[in-house]
Amino acid sequence: MVRLRVTVTVNGTAHEHDVEPRLLLVHYLRDVVGLTGTNVGCDTSSCGACTVLVDGESVKSCTMLAVQADGTVVTTIEDLARDGALHPMQQAFHEHHGLQCGFCTPGMVMAAVSLVDENETLDEQAVREGLEGNLCRCTGYHNIVKAVLAGAVAMKRRPRPWPSPTPRRRG
């Protein structure tokens, strides 16, 4: 079977592997790199549980092949907390009870971080619309929306070293 070489920087570490061309990025991250924080919730790119940042932009990692991620910088949920402290967005989810079972949470938090990165200002409606692609079955979204708004404020207040996904563009 054909295998192709990919080089991907995941959470700051370079990885080089030969993979099947049909391997999805999410399965590459989970099964090859061994980072299982990114979850798989559907097979139609509908749930957002698999959301990661690729070159700083949020991507459903089930919509991308591992080979398409060749040469990119990927950030997963495992990279947000640093030195035993939660990222401001993670902290906001914690403080506002923005999670219950926690299965949607890694994807939700990654989507939220990128939403805040991409928008100067956010209000409730913008958060609801911005998270349209991320489904949660437990929380009814009420506390997630509160958490994202609070996380946005906290991220502005403490811009670095927090959200680390620096490269905004490829190449």
Partner: protein, 795 residues
């Protein structure tokens, strides 16, 4: 640090942040499919594309030779592995029909998604590739998708049963009184409601892994289950295994809502095949499989009649229910409608009541418990019917409810069904909800809009609910023929360093038990919640338990912990009295320290007692060392949380679009251990119930094919589809347990569905609309408006 450093302030009732969160927020938590299991084979299941077909033959030879494939088995190949068919633990009547059901179909498939063969391969992808190469020769049979059609027995789902009716179950308080009430009634209403089938769609798909020990016969089953304890017993029975050699672990579980309260074919297959081959076997469900082969919820046709006097006081309720079992009876399938049977008279003082349920098989995915399980369905019927009655009598719906409530001074209240409602203040919750919603102004605004004659109509929907919660007393469950108890077990162990271990039989999947249980312990022992470790969801750590469903965890499992704490404290008190040389009665425990009343300097901290109990150097004569207590608690009654929800919608007459403008919920679950967690449960529940009202439906075509088998087709709401919520609570403690708690997990779902549909119908009532079927999609709403116009025009 020592207990004396712990704050003396109360812990119970505070909004303590969850202990569970950090692991979940950082991706560190392990869900079943995250487990690293070296050498595990991947299992994939071939599922029937037909709703009903005879299997003439299966050719697995090509698949068996494919790359990575280790083995392929059909139902016939594995028949000898099962000591008993798949379990159904709720034979509600003696003569209930229950078709034999094995993890893989052998001769006939009875729903689209029924498993017919399995592949074991090195990787998931190889296993799934091989499924395509299995050749099954099917002889299609007619499908039965309509409940009333199923009842006619025109086509049988299971030939051997000779009928599609599984059972008929009745509950009559006094049949004559019901007849008399209807004969004498001034007002009657007769309504028919359809509870569409719902797909629970927990975000984490089902997953399991069976890991055999190479020697000694022990086996561990990891599963994304709500019920590790029940699963262990049932797996042992179904496979004829020694139960003590089986360990079941539920790692982090990504939601269940009842759908992971079951014993599934895939769990049994993983165990059986891991034993057969002597290697670990694991499986994870795809979303389409989740839609087809995980149980579905609801699926009922309800006929409800109310009799009332001239003032609108309800004198009798009569219910006829037709319930869809699907193709087979799963773990508690037949019991679900019975759970609702006790709630159709609602929060009202109804003297006479009768209920009949007929349950039928169809060639569709089996149904079973889904958030609320029978109780949302019942509440929907009575709360919709109460609105219909209010319209008939000409009363505001809240006024009609006030007239009929069981008033606060009547508790404990013995219902005509024989059950005792522990406590309640239904008026209080309604009054508060009206206040928060601005009910008076809303009605005025509605009148204004109607007078102006626009096309965007305002609707205000009310629903007052209660819940038979806790799934409790074993004696009562026995009277319903349920084959398990309603108890829960708990152990509290104060370690020599004064850290505390709690072992619980409840098995959480997002409800925050670790935090709530730690809070109960912290409050009683004066330790920090961080010093409490809660062990759960692993039958090796917690061998006895009945798991988590039916909002039973706090009201049964949490109370068990409180009782175990009583025992531990009692023992600590005896040690303290011994060492301080005083009478036990002279001691009071305050913030983790025993003090001799009246002698403030004579005291002994629990930390010191814990260490003394461990060293056992100086204990009262005959006392066993260590501070540990175990309790199994069988509650004396169900608990009955309640509340009122008010939903405000705007309905566009031209498009049928429903926008929820405001949603207010006032719930009463008795005392709250952690109000933050309570609110979270309420929020999630409301949106799940609102989703039944407006979005969700498992749609089957006439051949029994599921048309909504992906998240792209099945409308799980997103953040942008739902409103912000206004929640509040009243507090009416339960008198049946020392914590005064009731349970809250299903309340939101029970209260919300009727509130939303009542609002939609209310918005359009002046146009002659009296009902809108669920889910109230724009097309359905628009059609209801057209139908009402047409009916109005032809009069």
């Amino acid at each position: 640090m020592a207990v004396t450093d712990a704050p003396a302030a109360r812990v119970i009732g505070t909004r303590l942040l969850r202990k569970e969160d950090p692991a979940l927020l950082t991706g560190e938590a392990r869900f079943t499919d995250d487990l690293q299991i070296p050498g595990a084979l991947r299992m994939a299941v071939l599922r029937s594309p037909f709703a009903h077909a005879r299997i003439r033959g299966i050719d697995t030879s090509v698949a068996a030779g494919m790359p990575g494939v280790v083995a392929v088995f059909t139902g016939a190949d594995l028949r000898d592995l099962w000591a008993a068919p798949m379990p159904c633990a709720w034979p509600v009547t003696e003569d209930m029909k229950n078709p034999e059901h094995y993890p893989l179909a052998i001769d006939t498939v009875c729903y689209a998604g029924d498993g017919v063969a399995v592949v074991l391969a090195r990787t998931d992808v190889e296993a799934r590739d091989a499924l395509d190469a299995i050749d099954v020769d099917y002889e299609p049979l007619p499908a039965v998708v309509d409940l009333e059609d199923a009842l006619s027995d025109r086509v049988l789902v299971h030939d051997a049963l000779g009928t599609n009716t599984s059972y008929v179950w009745e509950l009559h308080t006094d049949a004559e009184a019901v007849e008399r009430a209807f004969a004498e009634a001034v007002h009657t209403v007769q309504e028919r409601y359809v509870q569409q089938r719902l797909i629970p769609m927990a975000m984490e798909p089902r997953a399991c892994a069976a890991v055999p020990q190479p020697f000694g016969g022990d086996l561990t089953l990891y599963s994304a289950t709500q019920i590790p304890h029940i699963l262990k017993v049932m797996t042992a029975v179904t496979l004829g295994l020694p139960e003590h050699q089986l360990r079941v672990v539920a790692p982090a579980v990504g939601g269940g809502f009842g759908s992971k309260l079951d014993v599934y074919a895939e769990e049994l297959l993983c165990v059986a095949l891991a034993r057969k081959l002597g290697v670990p076997v694991r499986w994870v469900e795809e979303r389409t499989e989740n839609a087809q082969a995980t149980i579905q919820g609801r699926g009922q046709i309800q006929e409800i009649e109310l009799a009332a006097d001239a003032d609108g006081r309800v004198t009798a309720v009569r219910v006829r229910l037709l319930a869809d079992m699907g193709a087979y009876l799963q773990l508690v399938t037949p019991g679900i409608p019975l759970l609702g049977a006790f709630l159709y008279s609602g929060v009202y003082d109804v003297p006479a009541y009768s209920f009949t349920c007929t349950s039928v098989f169809t060639t569709l995915t089996p149904t079973d418990a889904y958030r609320g399980a029978g109780r949302p369905e019942a509440t929907y019927a009575i709360e919709r019917a109460m609105d219909a009655l209010a319209a008939r009598v000409g009363l505001d719906p809240t006024e009609l409810r006030m007239r009929n409530f069981i008033t606060a001074d009547r508790f404990p209240y013995t219902a005509p069904t024989g059950l005792v409602y522990d406590s309640g203040n239904y008026e209080g919750a309604l009054v508060r909800a009206k206040e928060l919603a601005g009910y008076g102004e809303l009605r005025a605004e509605q009148a204004r809009r109607r007078a102006q004659g626009g096309t965007r109509h305002l609707g205000i929907g009310v629903s007052s609910y209660f819940e038979m919660c806790g799934l409790a007393p074993s004696r009562v469950l026995a009277s319903l023929n349920y084959s398990a108890g309603g108890w829960e077990s708990a152990t509290v162990r104060i370690l020599p360093t004064n850290k505390v271990q709690v072992v619980t039989g409840a098995s959480p999947h997002g409800q925050g038990h670790e935090t709530s249980w730690a809070m109960i312990v912290a409050e009683r022992l004066g330790v920090s919640p961080d010093d409490v470790d809660v062990l759960h969801s692993d039958t090796a750590l917690s061998p006895l338990g009945l798991d988590t469903y039916g909002s039973r965890s706090l009201v049964v499992g949490g109370v068990a912990i409180d009782m175990a704490l009583d025992k531990v404290v009692e023992k600590a008190r005896a040690i303290a009295a011994h060492q301080l040389e005083c009478a036990e009665d002279d001691l009071e425990l305050d913030a983790g320290t025993f003090r001799v009343k009246g002698s403030p300097d004579k005291e002994l901290a629990l930390a010191a007692i814990a260490f003394a109990a461990f060293t056992a150097h100086d204990l009262p004569d005959g006392m066993e060392p260590n501070l540990e207590a175990h309790v199994t608690y069988d509650p004396p009654n169900f608990s009955w949380p309640f509340g009122t929800h008010i939903c405000v919608v705007e309905v566009d007459e031209e498009t049928g679009q429903v926008d929820v403008l405001r949603y207010v919920a006032v719930d009463d679950c008795g005392n709250q251990v952690n109000p933050m967690i309570v609110e979270g449960q309420v929020h999630g529940g409301i949106i799940q119930g609102l989703a039944q009202a407006l979005f969700e439906e498992a749609v089957y075509d006439e051949d029994g094919n599921l048309r909504t088998s992906t998240m792209a087709e099945y409308l799980v709401p997103a953040a942008s589809d739902v409103p912000a919520l206004v929640t509040d609570s009243t507090v009416t403690p339960s008198p049946t347990n020392a914590l005064g708690v009731k349970g809250i997990g299903e309340a939101g779902t029970i209260g919300s569905t009727p509130a939303v549909i009542n609002a939609v119908v209310d918005a359009l009532s002046h146009l002659g609309v009296t009902d809108v079927p669920m889910p109230a999609s724009p097309l359905r709403v628009w059609s209801a408006i057209q139908a009402a116009r047409h009916a109005g025009g032809s009069q």
